[in-house]
């Protein structure tokens, strides 16, 4: 009896191991040929291409839908559904010649009507991609395969972000009651949230948001004869947890993951079946200052100037360019790149990826890291070290806002910056929060409630004008008017504003780049509007069986994936 009981207990206790070894004997199931399995940290929430203007959603949908234009592996603009286009009347009229014989996945023919319809839909009230089309633009059907776009003012970069202005089928949308984009504020579920009908290389064959999405090769794709992929099926799974995502890659259950945390890169490369594809991303990480308020916000504290100190300009130190320059020179960006980012970033002098401004980017240099110069500048600005202020001989104290789940090692960067600034006598109170709270506080919705912050920016158009108007455009207190929405610190310079307006309408690319250079000379060299830190690296983990192109804007093109 006793022995039997003992036997049962032991047997049950080893049941776990038993189940595992049973599985071991049978081995893991083989998967079908050329199924590409993706694991990404975020969800694919909607299939409607106009619901949210966000990189990942649009990238994923870019394999199903197509725009009139497309972008190649090096971000060059190439023909998409438009075979070619002409720019006339000084960039006031754009004529698009559409590709013939293209069919939507549902069987509908692609014609000019679909372009006109899509332009209407993307400009509708419920769309989040209205910025794709300039105000007052008119879409005119010339014939079934020619569309004119007439603009009130010249616009040389009209098509810069049209690779993600996806064309939808008018008949399909009308039949399914999906002529309006499903809005972020929708109170009714929409058909196009769960169904897609594009012209692209893949069809959506199953979609359970937040769980699994399955794409199947579209054999009727117009470019199928020249296709540069050999995939039959794509399975997309969101994998939230970093460790799980990396484990899934290492164990061969997925073929592609994004992102690979920097601390796991060596492990992924050391594994015989996987490797890291790293490359610079177009996102610039930077620090910004409050240059609008007259008084800094709590918890900032500025001690009264001691006798003999230089005269201060106003009560907000960040309004003084010398203080901004001092902050800049006190930060050793190379140390951040090497230690915090483990080499997976590139220090930047500009607020835009130099690859997106190739003509003149090399002319700009970062200010030298020089703590002595920084201390001198702060003394000159009237903020000398004050005996015993904030636990040492500090100059003044300010809060710093920082996200901890948005950019690569964001909170660690802030901690490094805080330590570096402490060396020149700036006392900083860190306010580190998850992105939901962080953006709620520092952006327009929270009244730009910050004095000093870390943020990242990718120009949606891959063009400097976007950086100038959104990060340097003069905004009012609320950020209304579509200018300077993300200009959190409220930087404003009339000369930059005039140049930005000229850049918008200048059709000659050489002149235009010259104007951009002039604007950056002011914002970067004269005004030190921001402290650009670096462009972080993209880090994809891929199975070694996979050959694929990596685009610097973190858009993955499934139609460029080859599997061995």
């Amino acid at each position: 009896m006793l022995r039997r009981l003992k036997g049962i207990a032991v047997a049950v206790a080893v049941a776990l191991a038993g189940a595992a070894s049973l599985a071991a004997l049978s081995g893991s199931p083989a998967h079908a040929q050329n199924t590409f399995r993706m694991g990404f940290q975020g969800n694919l929430n909607t299939l409607d291409p106009y619901t949210i203007n966000e990189t990942f959603t649009l990238a994923m949908l870019g394999n199903v839908y197509e725009g009139l234009t497309a972008r190649g592996p090096n971000l060059q603009i190439i023909p998409g559904l438009a075979e070619r286009w002409e720019i006339q009347e000084g960039a006031r009229l754009w004529r698009f010649h559409l590709r013939r014989g293209v069919k939507f996945q549902g069987g509908e023919d692609f014609t000019a009507d679909d372009v006109i319809f899509s332009a209407q839909r993307i400009r509708g009230d419920t769309s989040d991609l209205r910025v794709r089309i300039p105000n007052g633009a008119e879409f005119i059907k010339v014939d079934n395969f020619t569309v004119d776009v007439r603009l009130p003012t010249p616009n040389p970069i009209l098509i810069a972000d049209w690779d993600t202005f996806y064309i939808m089928s008018r008949t399909w949308a009308e039949r399914n009651n999906a002529t309006q984009a499903v809005s972020s504020r929708a109170t009714e579920p929409g058909f196009s949230t769960l169904n897609a009908n594009g012209t692209g290389a893949f069809r959506v064959t199953a979609h359970q948001p937040g769980v699994r999405t399955e794409l199947t090769r579209n054999p009727n794709w117009w470019n199928d004869a020249n296709r540069r992929h050999n995939l039959d099926r794509v399975i997309f799974t969101p994998i939230l947890n970093d460790a799980t995502r990396v484990a899934a890659l290492l164990s061969g259950e997925v073929d592609w993951v994004d992102p690979v945390p920097v601390q796991d890169m060596d492990r992924v490369n050391a594994n015989a079946t996987t490797r890291v594809m790293a490359g610079p991303e177009t996102r610039t990480i930077y620090l910004g200052f409050d240059q609008r308020r007259d008084q800094l916000l709590a918890p900032a504290e500025i001690p009264p100037a001691p006798a003999g100190a230089a005269q201060r300009r106003g009560t907000n130190p960040f309004k003084d360019v010398r203080v901004r320059r001092a902050f800049y020179q006190a930060i050793d960006v190379n140390l951040i790149v090497q230690r915090v980012m483990r080499g997976q970033a590139r220090a930047s002098a500009l607020m835009i990826d130099p690859n997106l401004f190739p003509r003149h980017a090399a002319e700009f240099q970062r200010l030298a890291f020089d703590t002595a110069a920084a201390e001198r500048l702060l003394d000159e600005a009237g903020y000398p070290r004050v005996q015993g202020f904030r636990g040492g001989n500090n100059r003044f104290s300010v809060g710093m806002d920082c996200p901890n789940d948005r950019y690569v090692n964001d909170a660690a960067i802030c901690q490094a910056v805080i330590a570096m600034l402490a060396r020149v006598g700036i006392h900083i109170t860190p306010i580190i929060q998850p992105r939901a709270q962080y953006f709620g506080k520092i952006l327009a919705g929270g009244g730009y409630n910050t004095n000093f912050y870390l943020l990242g920016w990718t120009p949606g158009t891959n063009d400097s004008h976007n950086v100038l108007i959104q990060l340097h455009g003069c905004r009012d207190d609320r950020g209304t008017g579509g200018v300077g929405v993300a200009n959190v610190g409220g930087y404003c310079n009339e000369r930059v504003r005039d140049l930005t307006n000229q850049i918008l309408v200048e059709a000659d690319p050489v002149k235009r780049d010259g104007l951009i250079r002039d604007a950056f000379r002011i914002t970067v060299n004269e005004d030190v509007a921001y402290i650009p830190l670096h462009q972080q690296a993209l880090a994809w983990g891929v199975n070694r069986r996979v050959e694929m192109a990596q685009r610097p804007d973190n858009v993955f093109m499934l139609y460029h994936v080859m599997m061995r």
């Binding site: 009896m1 006793l2 009981l5 003992k6 207990a9 049950v12 206790a13 049941a15 776990l16 189940a19 599985a23 071991a24 893991s28 969800n43 929430n45 909607t46 409607d48 949210i52 966000e54 989040d128 209205r130 910025v131 972020s184 504020r185 929708a186 109170t187 579920p189 949230t193 769960l194 359970q208 948001p209 937040g210 769980v211 699994r212 799974t237 969101p238 994998i239 939230l240 947890n241 799980t244 484990a247 899934a248 290492l250 164990s251 259950e253 789940d405 998850p434 992105r435 939901a436 962080y438 953006f439 709620g440 952006l443 919705g445 929270g446 949606g460 950020g479 209304t480 929405v485 993300a486």
Partner: protein, 326 residues
């Protein structure tokens, strides 16, 4: 009996109301949902309009009344992120969580009770000591660590179990189950162990403590004196008397297994309600958060009530006391 049930129902209403108030209060501190719903270039005017139409600008008491009124009808609206009805999303995810919780709980009971009985009867045996030592692991290691450890060993090193997901799922119309396919069973092994380990340890230690106490009692001695078989004494008399606290704990733990499956679901990318909730917190998807919290509150209330009713069945003394009170 009826009065007892009615009284509990009224109490449950108060509990749900309290959960509602707390949940609603919480939403005021989770951040701004609008930033998660639009792209970075969206203008302030459009953001304002969105906020207005979502009712985020209404006075707080009005928002609260709206929320309560809708919650009472199980209408939690449309998810900000998915643009799908929240109840539909939760209904889709519910089977995954439920299967995981049930398998984990069965695992905990089937392993924990025999281990507890054994360690209670043979305190000095080396097997007992080994059980107790390993049970310390279950109590002291955090769930996510156990999960990652299992993944590392069984998925990455040995490559025998899947590191994430639910495997092949069969849709039965009203329920989608992973328990009808081989890959589904393989996929549930590690999450269920991770989720059930703590409960297993708890049940084992509880049963052991109860057994130690009961084996010393007079009625066991009398049973022995009467010459009953050991099996009858151990399982018929001793074990049965340990069950009241075990039922309580199992019931309460079942609620918390469902509620706190969040961590396990995240580690294994298990497509259940916990994962949905965690993602909702990150993206400030208030409708999902509201529905989830109310649902979990409701589940605890129901589980507690079932536990109370089970007492009636198991322990005659409670029945007597209830009768005497009336």
């Amino acid at each position: 009996m009826l009065a007892f049930v009615l009284r509990r129902l009224v109490q449950s209403l108060y509990v749900m109301l309290a959960v509602g108030v707390l949940a609603f209060a919480l939403f005021r501190f989770v951040g701004d949902p609008v930033n998660q719903m639009v792209g970075q270039d969206t203008s302030v005017e459009d953001r304002d309009r969105l906020r207005q139409e979502l009712g985020l600008n209404d006075p707080v008491p009005l928002q609260f009344l709206n929320y309560l009124w809708r919650a009472a009808r199980f209408d939690f609206g449309i998810s900000y992120q998915f643009k799908q009805p929240v109840m539909q999303l939760i209904a889709e995810r519910f089977p995954a969580t439920m299967e995981l919780a049930v398998v984990a709980m069965i695992l905990a009971l089937v392993i924990g009770i025999p281990m507890g009985v054994y360690t209670g009867l043979y305190r000095e045996s080396w097997v007992s000591k080994a059980f107790l030592a390993t049970s310390l692991v279950g109590i002291s290691l955090p769930t996510f660590f156990i999960g990652i450890l299992l993944i590392f060993v069984f998925a990455v090193q040995l490559n025998v179990l899947p590191s994430f997901g639910r495997g092949q799922v069969v849709d039965l119309g009203f329920w989608n189950t992973g328990l009808l396919t081989r890959s589904g069973w393989l996929a549930i092994i590690m999450p269920a162990i991770t989720l059930g380990l703590f409960q297993m340890t708890l049940i084992m230690r509880l049963v052991r403590a109860e057994m130690l106490e009961i084996m010393r009692m007079d009625f066991i001695k009398f049973a022995r004196a009467r010459g009953l078989k050991s099996r009858v004494i151990y399982f018929g008399h001793a074990l049965k008397n340990t069950l009241v606290p075990v039922i309580t704990i199992t019931g309460l733990q079942f609620g918390s297994i469902i509620a706190f499956a969040i961590v396990t679901e995240t580690v294994f990318q298990w497509p259940g309600m916990g994962l949905l909730f965690l993602r909702a917190v990150q993206t400030v998807d208030i409708p999902i958060m509201a529905a989830y919290l109310m649902l979990i509150g409701l589940m605890f209330v129901i589980v507690n009530m079932i536990v109370d009713l089970l007492y009636f069945a198991v322990d005659p003394r409670i029945r007597v006391a209830a009768k005497a009170a009336h």
